[in-house]
């Protein structure tokens, strides 16, 4: 059996596979034992209650899914009171995804989430920044760094910055988050897209545009991981279109230390177990005694040596 454990800035995970935010919940525990996962990642929690976007909220497009869910939720106070106790029943480390409209709201919420049972905070900085005309924090290095720095001053918990593909220079945003104190990067959130319903000749989603995920998004996410892993020294967690162990190994080779699986669970609800088993089988077949030896193995060697 290969050693599947990985270290993500202070946290040790039993294996490198975890769910992607917004595609996971305790409900999946009706399908398999969630403690087999490396970590648990919640839907994004927001400071205030939110209703979310009009329906339809999802549409199939090509080999992927377009969504505009709109982060509905009960707000952080009710989340801590009602949802956190449910999550505490599981043993795997709990990563709380956090979304907020301003850097100071990120900080305040991070402080509120610094409670027993939370292992790390994933900052969903792909959400609109109210102080920048609703442009995503992660679209540019400055606002991304401001959100992470504000959180850094408010919590001792590890902070994972979840980057967006909707930016001109992902590596610069990655570096800015590292400098601002992020312990890891999650790469990446969905890429903006659109689908037209030919029956109505209107956008297929109630909100118009949406975020694209699934197999069609994989090469883009993989390229972002490759770029970000070369730009920073902190661990990168790969995310985008992963459905099998082979997909995951590609992300590890491109520089990821761990992976997140999102939309694939909608197609095969036990996809994450298949990914764990697939990685393990790959390591065995190819003689890797530790999964961590795969990280960055495909990166141009100069950069890899420099990063070590």
């Amino acid at each position: 059996m290969p050693d599947l454990s990985v270290r993500i800035g202070g946290l040790t995970l039993a294996n490198p596979v975890m769910p992607a935010s917004g595609t996971f919940g305790p409900e999946l525990g009706e399908v398999f034992d969630l403690d087999r996962l490396g970590a648990l990642v919640t839907k994004s929690v927001t400071p205030e209650p939110r209703r979310g976007n009009p329906t339809p909220r999802v549409a199939e497009t090509g080999q992927g899914l377009l969504n505009s869910i709109g982060i509905p939720g009960k707000g952080i106070e009710a989340w801590i009171a009602y949802d956190l106790p449910v999550w505490r029943r599981f043993a795997a480390p709990l990563v709380v995804s956090l979304s907020a409209p301003t850097a100071s709201a990120f900080a305040e919420a991070a402080r509120a989430l610094t409670v027993e049972g939370v292992a790390a905070i994933e900052a969903n900085i792909s959400c609109p920044n109210l102080e920048a005309d609703g442009r995503a924090f992660a679209a540019e290095p400055g606002p991304a760094a401001a959100a992470i720095a504000a959180m850094r001053g408010a919590t001792r918990l590890p902070i994972w910055a979840k980057l967006s593909p909707n930016t001109g220079d992902a590596a610069a945003v990655a570096r800015a988050c590292e400098e601002a104190g992020a312990d890891a990067l999650v790469v990446a959130n969905t890429i903006l897209g659109l689908a037209i319903d030919l029956a109505t000749l209107r956008p297929a989603l109630g909100a118009g545009m949406g975020g694209y995920s699934g197999p069609g998004f994989k090469p883009i996410a993989l390229r972002l991981v490759w770029q970000c892993a070369q730009a920073v020294r902190i661990p990168v967690i790969g995310c985008g279109g992963i459905a099998t162990g082979q997909d995951a190994v590609e992300f590890l080779a491109a520089g990821a230390t761990a992976v997140q699986v999102g939309t694939a669970s909608f197609i095969q609800p036990a996809a994450m177990l298949q990914v764990i088993e697939g990685i393990s089988a790959f390591c065995t077949a190819r003689g890797f005694s530790r999964v961590s030896d795969l990280t960055g193995i495909a990166l141009p060697s100069l950069q890899r040596i420099a990063a070590e």
Partner: protein
Amino acid sequence: MDGSAGPFPVTTHLGRVIASVPVGARYHRLLAEAPALSAAVEPGQFCHLLCPGAYLRRPMSVWRAGAQEPLGFLFRVAGPGTAALAGLREGDTLDAMGPLGRGFTLDPGWGRILVLARGVGLATLSLLARRAVSLDIGVTAILSARDPADMMAEAFCGAVPMDLRLVHDSDGSSDPAAVGMMIEAEFIRARPDAVFTCGSDRLLRLLQEIAARHGVLGEAAIEQRMGCALGLCFACVRRIATPDGPRDLRVCREGPVFDLQSVEAW
């Protein structure tokens, strides 16, 4: 519940297709051998079906199920997903995830129920009606369709005895005012202990009003576009009245069956 399911009641079942037959011009029925799932599923619950060639699964009410019986779906061929399902042939594999959602309430002490279905909504109510008859509960079924060629009364009840009332757009008998009078007459002739509906928002409003006036319980099965069908993604919400006020509830998890009066206008 299927005993072998243990602590993990929901899973993907690979069933063998044993019948794949067009029904009328627009519909199709599929029967598959999936014994554990067929025994576990309750009327009103649904499965999330993998459609060859399409990326996402498609939600589909269970039309036929039971211990030692094949699992059946009856659907309108609407687009690529359902067209792919209709393309399955005997011996092919059907990948069905389930059982999912909350089904209908059926009280063995009831004497009679009334069901009101529009179009392929009868697929969702068929198992309920057949289960009711097997419990010695009388069933009055009002089925509404575009025209006689589009009516699937046989697919609804098979050989099971029920009081059927068929209404059509083609002769005006499916007009809500006419259907309203028909329901009122049924309430006088044989007052039901509960009413059930699926398939039309207009008929849902109509039944809400009549059932409320007569103080009769009811449930409605509703639809919404789905992603996961497991309660994970919140794609499938509908506005539902709850004791704590209106809430966006998940059709795949808190539904697809809701209290008749709780479903708010869409």
